[in-house]
Symmetry: C2
Subunit: 567 residues, 2 copies
């Protein structure tokens, strides 16, 4: 509320771009602060480009999605707050017809939300999604916010409240409610109840650590699910994949084509979300994004056509290689404006024989489950999950990187000193290969060990991006003072390991285990793990120096503390 009041006047004197005042740095700074984590220190005034990015994470429906329960609760609270705030000044009543007249910058942009009417004309230029906001002009915000649950946060509602100009008539409110959209997530698939849920809509969940490290090949039910939008319902019979950007006008492939016209390849590959272990960063200082634990990672056997083979069939050759640099992927999961989830990878990875990029239609020997991309997803081994596009609809060969939000304004790493007021997304490359990672799955943080056990067994996983094989995992029982080398495993327990990969093509993780004597006298143990890959990359010791505003790439040593109980 304090911030709100401080910004009130400034926001009022704000834009809009064309026919009103020009946006001032003061407004930008203020808006940015409203949308950044509470408790942030006072920050210097910033440039117009910066606050756009501040809001990007919020409004484009991607990163900063609050837990469903949490945001519902907050939204209700905020709603009360809005009413209270405006109670002292009775505002006029408008009909839907009157609101509808204000559906352009020329005539003003009005929207309704829960029976209130807002003139957001001034805000349009500040909306990072740009003109997308005009889709709601003259109508209700609810259908849009149903998709972008992220809007339902207190500070977003606080921003909205600044623009309130009146109330909708009771009749029109009733009509609106009757016409409210059905829940776009209602056809999402069932999920295994063991998953720990980050958000329900869109669904984001991860398995308990001790279950994850039980299997070298992660069963699909326990494989972390990271959805940006509702899971699309795709009919496999009418499914078509469009391959574009190549000479000859493109290629259209049915699921049957993919299965029968190209050799079937199988690759065991680990996928990891860029936000895995974000919770460790949140403990240092709040970041934007889903509060993943240590299990937004899984290892599966993927089968499908090689992207290389499909691109060659579609006309890729030396002529294309001269100008093309990237391959874009678009999902069939679309937002309310029809914009699909999208990303791209470098062409060199896509067409390399050693890149092993698949258009996968099987996961662990069965058809890919809906949550993992049915009927076809791209599997880009060694590369961040965000580029492994699910429900693949379109592949485009291009001279440019994907322009999608998720490629340009998300999934990039920044210095710990970079804040939302100063971040320049153009200054950092889109995350592709991920760095070396490891974590302890057993014991859990806070576990209690009996001294009479005499030994302690610690288990975990380790993986590195770019096909770099994990060559060693060091484990410490004393917070990193002394280290022992863990046993690595490349297969199910008690079974033969998978064949060793060629150099640079180690796409799968290793599970590890060590049994060590309990140090005598110790009352508490700080267990630490750190892994080394075949390029001898190591994990950083601590979290604060790699902290970044989006909480990505969280790969510091993993630490758990256990207590030793005397019998």
């Amino acid at each position: 509320m304090l911030l709100l009041r401080r910004c009130h006047g400034l926001t009022r004197c704000g834009p809009v771009s064309t026919h009103r005042h020009k946006v001032t740095p003061a407004v930008a700074s203020c808006t940015a602060r409203l949308c950044s984590s509470s408790g942030a220190e006072d920050q210097r005034l910033s440039q117009r480009t910066n606050w756009k990015h501040v809001l990007a994470g919020l409004l484009a429906g991607t990163g900063a999605v609050l837990a469903y329960g949490l945001h519902q609760h907050k939204a209700e609270q905020a709603d009360v707050g809005v009413s209270t705030l405006e109670k002292s000044s009775p505002l006029p009543i408008f009909s839907q017809d009157e609101v509808t007249k204000h559906s352009s910058l020329e005539h003003g942009v009005w929207v309704t939300y829960k029976g209130s009417v807002y003139d957001i004309t001034e805000f349009v230029a500040m909306h990072p999604g740009g003109n997308k906001i005009l889709l709601a002009a003259g109508g209700a915000l609810e259908p849009f916010w149903a998709l972008y649950a992220v809007h339902n946060q207190e500070h977003v509602l606080e921003i909205l409240s600044q623009y309130k100009v009146g109330e909708l008539t009771e009749d029109d409110l009733k009509k609106q409610r009757a016409a409210e959209p059905t829940d776009p997530f209602s056809s999402d698939p069932e999920r295994h109840p063991v998953l720990r849920i980050n958000t329900r809509k869109p669904f984001n969940g991860e398995p308990p650590p001790e279950i994850l490290s039980d299997s070298y090949i992660t069963p699909a039910a326990f494989f972390f699910k990271r959805n940006h939008l509702p899971v699309p319902q795709v009919d496999p019979a009418s499914y078509r994949l469009q391959v574009e950007g190549l000479p000859g006008g493109g290629l259209t492939l049915s699921l049957e084509d993919l299965k029968t016209k190209f050799p079937k390849h199988t690759v065991t590959a680990t996928l990891q979300c860029a936000g895995n272990r974000r919770s460790d960063m949140n403990k240092v200082k709040a970041v934007k994004g889903l509060n993943w634990g240590i299990t937004a990672i899984g290892n599966a056997r993927w089968s499908g056509a090689r992207l290389r083979d499909v691109l060659l069939a579609a006309g890729f050759g030396p002529d294309v290689a001269r100008w093309a640099r990237h391959v874009h992927f678009e999902g069939l999961d679309k937002d309310v404006t029809g914009t699909p989830y999208g990303s791209s990878i470098p062409l060199s990875k896509a067409v390399s024989e050693e890149g092993d990029v698949l258009l996968a239609y099987e996961m662990n020997g069965e058809e890919i489950p809906r949550d993992h991309g049915f009927p076809v997803r791209v599997v880009v081994p060694g590369v961040v999950g965000a580029r492994n596009v699910k429900w693949l609809g379109r592949v485009v060969v291009s001279a440019e990187e994907s322009g999608s939000h998720w490629q340009q304004h998300d999934y990039k790493g920044f210095s710990p000193g970079t804040d939302w007021d100063h971040v320049d997304f153009k200054s950092a490359p889109a995350i592709q290969e991920l760095p070396i990672q490891s974590a302890i799955t057993v014991p859990a943080d806070g576990a209690v060990i009996d001294r009479s056990d005499e030994t302690l067994t610690v288990t975990g996983y380790a993986w590195s991006g770019g096909g770099r094989e994990v060559v060693r995992v060091d484990v410490s029982l004393d917070g990193g003072e002394t280290w022992q080398v863990a046993q690595l495993r490349s297969g199910e327990k008690g079974q033969a390991p998978e064949a060793p990969p060629p150099p640079g093509r180690a796409w799968a993780w290793k599970l590890w285990e060590i049994t060590a004597p309990l140090p005598p006298e110790a009352q508490e143990l700080e267990i630490v793990c750190k892994a080394v890959d075949s390029s001898y990359n190591v994990q950083p010791d601590t979290v604060p120096p790699i902290w970044n505003l989006r909480g990505l790439l969280s790969n510091a040593w993993h630490r758990v503390t256990v207590r030793v109980r005397d019998d």
Copy 2:
């Protein structure tokens, strides 16, 4: 001396393999301890394989070479020590003829050193170079030790003293001295006097940090020199490169062939010694190896034939790809037994179009200087210096990795908990791609800054192996509490930067610079740098958790402390 006495009896009861006692673990452990750094804690008994590796670094003339001045001094001291030790027991006088009779295991193995006679029969089985030691049997050690300067260390002389059996006649000693070999290093090239010398013979030197970061392209004179053996004298007219292991019986190429039969390619690539920044590890706990500072790294423009093209011309094709996995390189620098310096790289790197491996005959637009491999060296961009073999004589395509000492028992990384008694060289992969690295070249550690300057400019370099581009360098003036982002540079100051590399082919370093306000009040600043590569790999915070017994891969944050002086 204490250790010496403790081991004396044990060593005497030692081997030799065939006709005396079998080597016991106790002997092995004792020997190992003698050869490891003094001051090491008492260590558990070890297996035979372990002490072999302990001595390997010493006796194969590679890693653990002491500074010339230092070892000469120590050798003289030790010499005195040996005489003193034996003074109380007058020993018999032998003629050279009598010594010569003992030149086999059957008749005993005697050697002479500085006029003393030693029966080293029992030691032969303990010599990690194996039978190589028999080359000296019946004669003088001096010509061998002239090549392997590493032998001239106090503890090696202490081991030798155990085997003293007599003195050489004065006459024979005089004859020996007259026949002493000319210095094998006498034809080494001149070096720039600015280089900081680690060892003179073989020559190992690095430039002052502030000179290194003056140029984006390091002039050859200032490029670090890392030689394992004397620099060979190669006549370019009679030089021949042998290419073997391929169908058709191999290919022999003259320098002229290399220059005229294959397209000339130019690559800007940074080479770094695996031991760069070893001095940081030595500060934690003594390691074996040259005590490099931060400048065993340089960036040059290399030109030559692509290895890929030469292998294709020599018969490489799909048939070979089915069984071949590695490409070996052998230098023309040979030890006294005729064994050349050698190493290998994965075949995939050697034949890849994107690997950019060169058989280089030019460095910075001129013929490669002798210290850097005249007339031909391999340049393996993104890969540790040790695989960039100089004075290239032979290229062999093989199913196996190079069996050379430097591939199998050196240049590998280990856990900080691994000591010489327990190291298993088979457990770690040979270093190929190096991890992310950066260092501060200006100001120097201990520098004094005037407070009236108000700002401080910090400069340095950053590089990563495997073609991973440096995407960011963070600099801290407060020991890592807060961070600022440095400006990166890919060319000479004030000139246009080099063209950006394709993804995965960023072989060259970046120089960086930052000018920041001097923090008011600060009396002392701990300046820290850390770099990030395109796979978002980062440097570890501290040295101890990456410490390893050979002091390789030293890439923790670089720190320098400066004092702020009030005027």
